[in-house]
Protein backbone atom coordinates (compact mmCIF):
# COMPACT_ATOMS: atom_id res chain seq x y z
CA UNK A 1 0.00 0.00 0.00
CA UNK A 2 1.48 3.27 -1.12
CA UNK A 3 1.16 6.64 0.53
CA UNK A 4 2.69 9.79 -0.88
CA UNK A 5 4.66 11.80 1.64
CA UNK A 6 5.51 15.40 0.82
CA UNK A 7 8.90 16.35 2.23
CA UNK A 8 9.77 19.95 3.19
CA UNK A 9 12.94 21.61 1.88
CA UNK A 10 14.78 21.27 5.17
CA UNK A 11 14.36 17.47 5.23
CA UNK A 12 15.17 16.79 1.58
CA UNK A 13 18.76 16.06 2.55
CA UNK A 14 17.35 12.72 3.74
CA UNK A 15 15.47 11.99 0.52
CA UNK A 16 18.19 12.80 -1.98
CA UNK A 17 16.48 16.07 -2.79
CA UNK A 18 13.10 14.47 -3.56
CA UNK A 19 10.06 16.62 -2.80
CA UNK A 20 7.83 13.59 -2.35
CA UNK A 21 8.48 9.95 -1.59
CA UNK A 22 6.34 6.84 -1.37
CA UNK A 23 6.06 5.00 1.90
CA UNK A 24 3.74 2.57 3.59
CA UNK A 25 2.17 1.88 6.94
CA UNK A 26 -1.22 1.46 8.56
CA UNK A 27 -0.52 4.20 11.06
CA UNK A 28 1.59 7.35 11.00
CA UNK A 29 3.98 5.63 13.39
CA UNK A 30 4.45 2.69 11.00
CA UNK A 31 4.80 5.08 8.08
CA UNK A 32 7.61 6.93 9.85
CA UNK A 33 9.38 3.61 10.55
CA UNK A 34 9.14 2.80 6.86
CA UNK A 35 10.49 6.25 5.96
CA UNK A 36 13.36 5.74 8.37
CA UNK A 37 14.22 2.38 6.78
CA UNK A 38 14.65 4.07 3.41
CA UNK A 39 15.84 7.49 4.55
CA UNK A 40 17.90 6.94 7.70
CA UNK A 41 17.91 9.87 10.11
CA UNK A 42 14.56 11.31 9.13
CA UNK A 43 12.66 9.80 12.07
CA UNK A 44 14.65 11.76 14.59
CA UNK A 45 13.60 14.97 12.86
CA UNK A 46 9.94 14.04 13.20
CA UNK A 47 9.70 12.21 16.51
CA UNK A 48 11.10 13.00 19.92
CA UNK A 49 10.61 10.82 23.00
CA UNK A 50 7.92 8.78 21.31
CA UNK A 51 5.82 11.75 20.26
CA UNK A 52 5.63 14.00 17.24
CA UNK A 53 7.96 16.95 17.61
CA UNK A 54 6.17 20.06 18.81
CA UNK A 55 7.30 22.18 15.87
CA UNK A 56 6.73 19.69 13.09
CA UNK A 57 3.29 19.61 11.52
CA UNK A 58 2.06 16.47 9.79
CA UNK A 59 -1.15 16.44 7.78
CA UNK A 60 -3.12 13.50 6.45
CA UNK A 61 -5.38 14.52 3.57
CA UNK A 62 -5.08 18.15 4.72
CA UNK A 63 -5.99 17.41 8.34
CA UNK A 64 -3.46 18.08 11.10
CA UNK A 65 -2.66 14.67 12.62
CA UNK A 66 -2.87 16.16 16.08
CA UNK A 67 -6.62 15.99 15.53
CA UNK A 68 -6.43 12.44 14.17
CA UNK A 69 -4.61 10.70 16.99
CA UNK A 70 -1.04 11.86 16.36
CA UNK A 71 1.34 8.98 15.70
CA UNK A 72 -1.55 6.54 16.04
CA UNK A 73 -3.51 8.20 13.21
CA UNK A 74 -4.57 5.47 10.81
CA UNK A 75 -3.61 5.61 7.16
CA UNK A 76 -5.06 4.09 4.04
CA UNK A 77 -3.78 3.40 0.59
CA UNK A 78 -3.84 6.57 -1.46
CA UNK A 79 -3.71 8.96 1.47
CA UNK A 80 -1.51 11.96 1.11
CA UNK A 81 0.77 12.91 3.98
CA UNK A 82 2.38 16.35 4.13
CA UNK A 83 5.19 17.26 6.51
CA UNK A 84 5.76 20.96 7.23
CA UNK A 85 7.98 22.46 9.88
CA UNK A 86 6.18 25.09 11.95
CA UNK A 87 6.98 28.66 11.04
CA UNK A 88 7.50 29.94 14.54
CA UNK A 89 9.86 31.71 16.88
CA UNK A 90 9.98 33.91 19.87
CA UNK A 91 12.05 36.61 21.43
Amino acid sequence: MAIEVRIPTILRTYTGGEKAVQAQGGTLSALIEDLEANHPGIKDRLVDNGDLRRFVNVYVNDEDVRFLGGLEASLNDGDQVVVLPAVAGGC
Partner: protein, 153 residues
Amino acid sequence: MLTIDQATYDAIVAHAKRDHPDEACGVVAGPAGSDRPERFVPMVNAAGSPTFYEFDSGELLRLYKEMDDRDEEPVVVYHSHTATEAYPSRTDVALASEPGAHYVLVSTREHGNNEGPVEFRSYRIVDGEVTEEEVTVVPSLEPAGTQQPRSEA
Protein backbone atom coordinates in the same frame (compact mmCIF):
# COMPACT_ATOMS: atom_id res chain seq x y z
CA MET B 1 21.47 41.05 0.24
CA LEU B 2 17.72 41.48 0.41
CA THR B 3 16.22 43.67 -2.28
CA ILE B 4 12.63 44.60 -1.48
CA ASP B 5 10.24 47.13 -2.94
CA GLN B 6 8.98 50.07 -0.92
CA ALA B 7 5.32 48.97 -0.88
CA THR B 8 6.16 45.52 0.51
CA TYR B 9 8.55 47.04 3.04
CA ASP B 10 5.82 49.44 4.15
CA ALA B 11 3.27 46.62 4.38
CA ILE B 12 5.52 44.59 6.67
CA VAL B 13 6.16 47.61 8.89
CA ALA B 14 2.44 48.48 9.00
CA HIS B 15 1.56 44.92 9.99
CA ALA B 16 4.14 44.96 12.78
CA LYS B 17 2.85 48.30 14.10
CA ARG B 18 -0.78 47.20 13.88
CA ASP B 19 -0.22 43.99 15.86
CA HIS B 20 2.05 45.54 18.48
CA PRO B 21 2.39 44.57 21.37
CA ASP B 22 1.89 41.08 19.95
CA GLU B 23 4.37 39.74 17.45
CA ALA B 24 3.30 39.95 13.81
CA CYS B 25 4.39 37.41 11.21
CA GLY B 26 4.07 36.52 7.56
CA VAL B 27 5.90 35.75 4.36
CA VAL B 28 6.63 37.39 1.05
CA ALA B 29 6.44 34.73 -1.62
CA GLY B 30 8.17 34.84 -4.97
CA PRO B 31 8.82 32.61 -7.97
CA ALA B 32 10.99 29.64 -6.98
CA GLY B 33 14.66 30.42 -7.46
CA SER B 34 14.06 34.08 -8.32
CA ASP B 35 14.96 35.67 -4.96
CA ARG B 36 12.19 38.18 -5.72
CA PRO B 37 9.83 38.96 -2.82
CA GLU B 38 6.70 39.70 -4.86
CA ARG B 39 3.60 38.55 -3.02
CA PHE B 40 2.99 39.87 0.51
CA VAL B 41 1.14 37.34 2.66
CA PRO B 42 0.46 38.51 6.22
CA MET B 43 -0.33 35.62 8.55
CA VAL B 44 -2.20 35.42 11.82
CA ASN B 45 0.02 34.85 14.83
CA ALA B 46 -1.78 31.82 16.26
CA ALA B 47 0.18 32.26 19.49
CA GLY B 48 -1.25 35.80 19.89
CA SER B 49 1.70 36.63 22.09
CA PRO B 50 4.15 39.48 22.67
CA THR B 51 6.99 36.97 22.97
CA PHE B 52 6.14 34.22 20.49
CA TYR B 53 4.79 33.73 17.01
CA GLU B 54 3.54 30.71 15.16
CA PHE B 55 1.60 30.36 11.93
CA ASP B 56 -1.70 28.57 12.45
CA SER B 57 -1.21 24.98 11.35
CA GLY B 58 -4.15 24.94 8.91
CA GLU B 59 -3.15 28.27 7.37
CA LEU B 60 0.43 27.06 7.09
CA LEU B 61 -0.70 24.10 5.01
CA ARG B 62 -2.90 26.30 2.81
CA LEU B 63 -0.04 28.74 2.28
CA TYR B 64 2.45 26.05 1.29
CA LYS B 65 -0.01 24.34 -1.04
CA GLU B 66 -0.80 27.66 -2.65
CA MET B 67 2.89 28.45 -3.11
CA ASP B 68 3.43 24.97 -4.51
CA ASP B 69 0.61 25.44 -7.03
CA ARG B 70 2.07 28.77 -8.12
CA ASP B 71 5.66 27.48 -8.21
CA GLU B 72 6.61 29.93 -5.49
CA GLU B 73 8.71 29.75 -2.37
CA PRO B 74 8.89 31.88 0.77
CA VAL B 75 11.50 34.44 -0.27
CA VAL B 76 11.03 36.41 2.96
CA VAL B 77 9.82 35.12 6.32
CA TYR B 78 9.17 38.06 8.61
CA HIS B 79 8.17 38.62 12.20
CA SER B 80 8.36 41.38 14.73
CA HIS B 81 9.95 41.73 18.12
CA THR B 82 7.96 44.11 20.25
CA ALA B 83 10.23 44.64 23.24
CA THR B 84 13.66 43.60 22.01
CA GLU B 85 16.00 44.37 19.16
CA ALA B 86 15.46 43.15 15.60
CA TYR B 87 17.85 40.24 15.97
CA PRO B 88 16.93 36.52 15.82
CA SER B 89 16.46 35.02 19.27
CA ARG B 90 17.74 31.58 20.19
CA THR B 91 14.25 30.23 19.60
CA ASP B 92 14.07 31.96 16.21
CA VAL B 93 17.33 30.31 15.22
CA ALA B 94 16.41 26.89 16.59
CA LEU B 95 13.11 26.88 14.67
CA ALA B 96 14.29 28.45 11.43
CA SER B 97 13.51 25.87 8.74
CA GLU B 98 13.82 27.76 5.47
CA PRO B 99 17.53 27.89 4.67
CA GLY B 100 16.79 29.69 1.39
CA ALA B 101 14.71 32.47 2.93
CA HIS B 102 15.57 35.97 4.07
CA TYR B 103 14.50 36.19 7.70
CA VAL B 104 13.29 39.74 8.27
CA LEU B 105 13.01 41.06 11.81
CA VAL B 106 11.21 44.28 12.62
CA SER B 107 11.39 45.78 16.08
CA THR B 108 8.51 47.96 17.23
CA ARG B 109 9.94 48.45 20.71
CA GLU B 110 10.54 52.16 20.20
CA HIS B 111 7.25 53.50 18.83
CA GLY B 112 4.81 50.62 19.24
CA ASN B 113 1.60 51.24 17.31
CA ASN B 114 2.58 54.83 16.55
CA GLU B 115 4.27 56.56 13.68
CA GLY B 116 8.02 56.54 13.76
CA PRO B 117 10.97 54.59 12.49
CA VAL B 118 11.43 50.88 13.20
CA GLU B 119 14.43 48.62 13.06
CA PHE B 120 14.14 46.52 9.89
CA ARG B 121 16.90 43.96 9.48
CA SER B 122 17.41 40.80 7.45
CA TYR B 123 19.31 37.58 8.09
CA ARG B 124 20.10 34.21 6.64
CA ILE B 125 19.68 31.43 9.16
CA VAL B 126 21.29 28.19 8.02
CA ASP B 127 22.16 25.24 10.27
CA GLY B 128 21.87 27.41 13.37
CA GLU B 129 24.17 30.08 11.99
CA VAL B 130 22.90 33.66 11.67
CA THR B 131 24.32 35.98 9.03
CA GLU B 132 23.01 39.51 8.79
CA GLU B 133 22.68 40.94 5.31
CA GLU B 134 22.15 44.34 3.74
CA VAL B 135 18.59 45.46 2.99
CA THR B 136 18.05 47.53 -0.16
CA VAL B 137 14.65 49.15 -0.55
CA VAL B 138 13.82 50.04 -4.14
CA PRO B 139 10.81 51.98 -5.51
CA SER B 140 9.76 48.81 -7.34
CA LEU B 141 11.43 45.54 -8.32
CA GLU B 142 12.94 45.47 -11.78
CA PRO B 143 10.78 43.50 -14.21
CA ALA B 144 11.68 39.82 -14.01
CA GLY B 145 14.62 38.81 -16.15
CA THR B 146 16.10 42.29 -16.56
CA GLN B 147 18.27 42.34 -13.48
CA GLN B 148 21.95 42.57 -14.25
CA PRO B 149 24.04 39.83 -12.70
CA ARG B 150 25.72 41.35 -9.69
CA SER B 151 29.50 41.14 -9.68
CA GLU B 152 30.79 40.12 -6.29
CA ALA B 153 33.17 42.74 -5.03
